[in-house]
């Protein structure tokens, strides 16, 4: 019988697999999102300054809401732009 090690795949079987998304706040225990930290918040917005959806960032619902609030606060204080082009 051929064991798992004997099977030769034509292509790398791990290529198509996506790495499982995770919520970075839960994983690293981040409890507070600072609205003054623009570098951190840049991770959650796209080039146009729009919030990235949860399906891309992998945030849990709780923290996505907190991220949204923090981004909106920093926009008010002109730390992040409301509209932008080529932000990154």
């Amino acid at each position: 019988m051929a064991s798992r090690d004997d099977i030769k795949f034509l292509s790398n079987p791990t290529i198509g697999q996506q790495r499982k998304k995770y919520c970075r706040f839960k994983k690293f225990g981040i409890k507070y999102i600072d609205y003054k930290d623009s570098e951190f918040l840049l991770q959650f917005i796209n080039e146009q300054g729009k919030l990235l959806p949860r399906r891309i960032t992998g945030n849990s619902l709780k923290y996505q809401k907190l991220v949204a609030v923090a981004v909106k606060r920093s926009r008010h204080l002109a730390i992040l732009p409301y509209v932008a082009d080529l932000l990154k």
Binding site: K31, Y32, D34, Y35, K36, D37, E39, F40, R73, R75, H76, L77, A78, I79, L80, P81, Y82, V83, A84
Partner: protein, 192 residues
Amino acid sequence: MYQTQKKGIYFFENQSIGLPLQPEIKNLLFNPNYFNKNMNHYEVTFIIDPVLSGDEIKSTANTYEALLKDQGCSIVHVHEIGLKQLAYPINKKSSGIYYCIEFTSIDGTIIGKLELSLRRDERIMRFLTVRLDKYGIKYNEDRRTGKISAYRKKEAKKKPSDAQSAPVARQEVKAPAPAPVVAAPVVVNEEE
């Protein structure tokens, strides 16, 4: 022990008062630190006009510090963020001086007075007042003591590692590159 304690609360909830206790009241009764934590933490961030001179900027910040102290708030920390480029122009100005004052107060009545005076002040371009939750208080404390700079450290670490990995990657790219060049004419020969 645990069970007896549980029974005690049960009795207290259902028979002596006759109503289940509201969770807020329960916290008040059973949290020994309740009276110490009674003070609310707030944080007000404002942007001062950069056209002003250095002394004027400092006096502006000091007026609000004094105002808060007059109203019976205790100031936890004044964070001078300094001159920053604005993400979009405000009042046709592209930069501003950021100040952040963290203070504690028993109730929120001060906030209205503070915001009114901020709004009337022409030197202030923008402001934002936020109530901090317990994680926010801890975050600010940690930042002051220098515990939080992990994100920046991570970036600092990344840069040297990139520099190290970059030449390695280039070597790897170079190595296989000549191979197809050699292989290509061989294939052509076979087809002919």
